[in-house]
């Protein structure tokens, strides 16, 4: 296995590597620009981030209410 790690490396042709690098740069810039324009406003992003905790909170409150109501009904009898 130690011999395997010492096997020589190979590289793509320099011109092709450079072309690929430029292409990847262009793609990264294009994506960054697209992301900026497509990014929703702060309020929308905050609402998206908050909806799961809000639903969880409402669910917990509803469950607590049901338990309390059940206890009151049990005590009433």
């Amino acid at each position: 296995m130690s011999r395997l790690s010492r096997l020589p490396d190979a590289s793509p042709r320099a011109a092709r590597a450079e072309r690929l690098r430029r292409r990847c740069h262009a793609e990264l810039r294009r994506r960054a620009a697209t992301d900026r324009t497509r990014r929703p406003p702060v309020v929308v992003r905050a609402a998206v981030a908050a909806w799961r905790p809000a639903v969880a909170l409402l669910g917990a409150a509803y469950f607590a209410g049901v338990v309390l109501l059940a206890l009151e009904t049990y005590r009433g009898h």
Binding site: L4, S5, P8, R21, R23, H25, E27, L28, A32
Partner: protein
């Protein structure tokens, strides 16, 4: 590359930072290309697949997880691309073994004698590797050549670490047998001595 630098690179890639891409490309382009070349055994195919691998990285850069490990990620994509290529082209494993004798190398050697012996060993190792089935070869390339941890290599191959260990064990045995066949065909090579063989 240490983990913090790698995480910073991933962060940069997620933000579309071209400097981060350059650093990642400088770090991993040669190993990924070498991996693909040894899998495909064709320079043009390896170049195409390496290009597609890096394009996949930049296409998915915004969706990378912050804790992504770049090397295993790239090797996984490269491997999948190669397997897809192989499926689509019905590539014969034994078709291009002869091409490996053209393998370039640039490792520093201490003397012409050692260089000759080492290059002969390397040529035999390359040929032995090239005769192995892809599933065997890829394990040796990932762990032995690329230096991935066996657990990372298991992720790349989509198997459990235990399965990977078993594959690695079998791959070592297969490589040893292939080297024995090489020795039977071309005679033994002793490191540090000049081989008189010509090809």
């Amino acid at each position: 590359m240490d983990r913090e630098t790698e995480l910073a690179l991933v962060g940069g890639l997620r933000e579309g930072d071209t400097d981060a891409f350059d650093e990642a490309y400088g770090w991993l382009s040669t190993p990924v290309f070498t991996f693909l070349l040894r899998l495909s055994r064709r320079h043009d195919v390896a170049e195409d697949l390496a290009e597609e691998t890096w394009l996949r990285l930049v296409t998915h850069a915004g969706r990378l997880r912050p804790d992504t490990r770049l090397a295993p990620w790239l090797y996984t994509v490269a491997r999948h691309l190669y397997l897809s290529y192989r499926r689509s082209r019905f590539l014969e494993d034994s078709a291009a073994v002869g091409l490996m004798t053209l393998w370039p190398y640039n490792t520093a050697r201490s003397s012409p004698f050692e260089e000759t012996a080492a290059s002969e060993l390397e040529r035999r190792l390359e040929r032995a590797l090239a005769t192995l089935p892809v599933a065997t070869r890829e394990v040796l390339l990932l762990v032995g050549v690329a230096g991935l941890d066996p657990s990372d290599a298991a992720d790349v191959c989509g198997v459990t670490p235990e399965t990977l260990r078993q594959r690695l064990h079998r791959a070592r045995e297969a490589l040893a047998k292939a080297l024995d066949r090489e020795a039977a065909l071309h005679g033994p090579v002793r490191e540090g001595t000049l081989s008189c063989q010509t090809r």
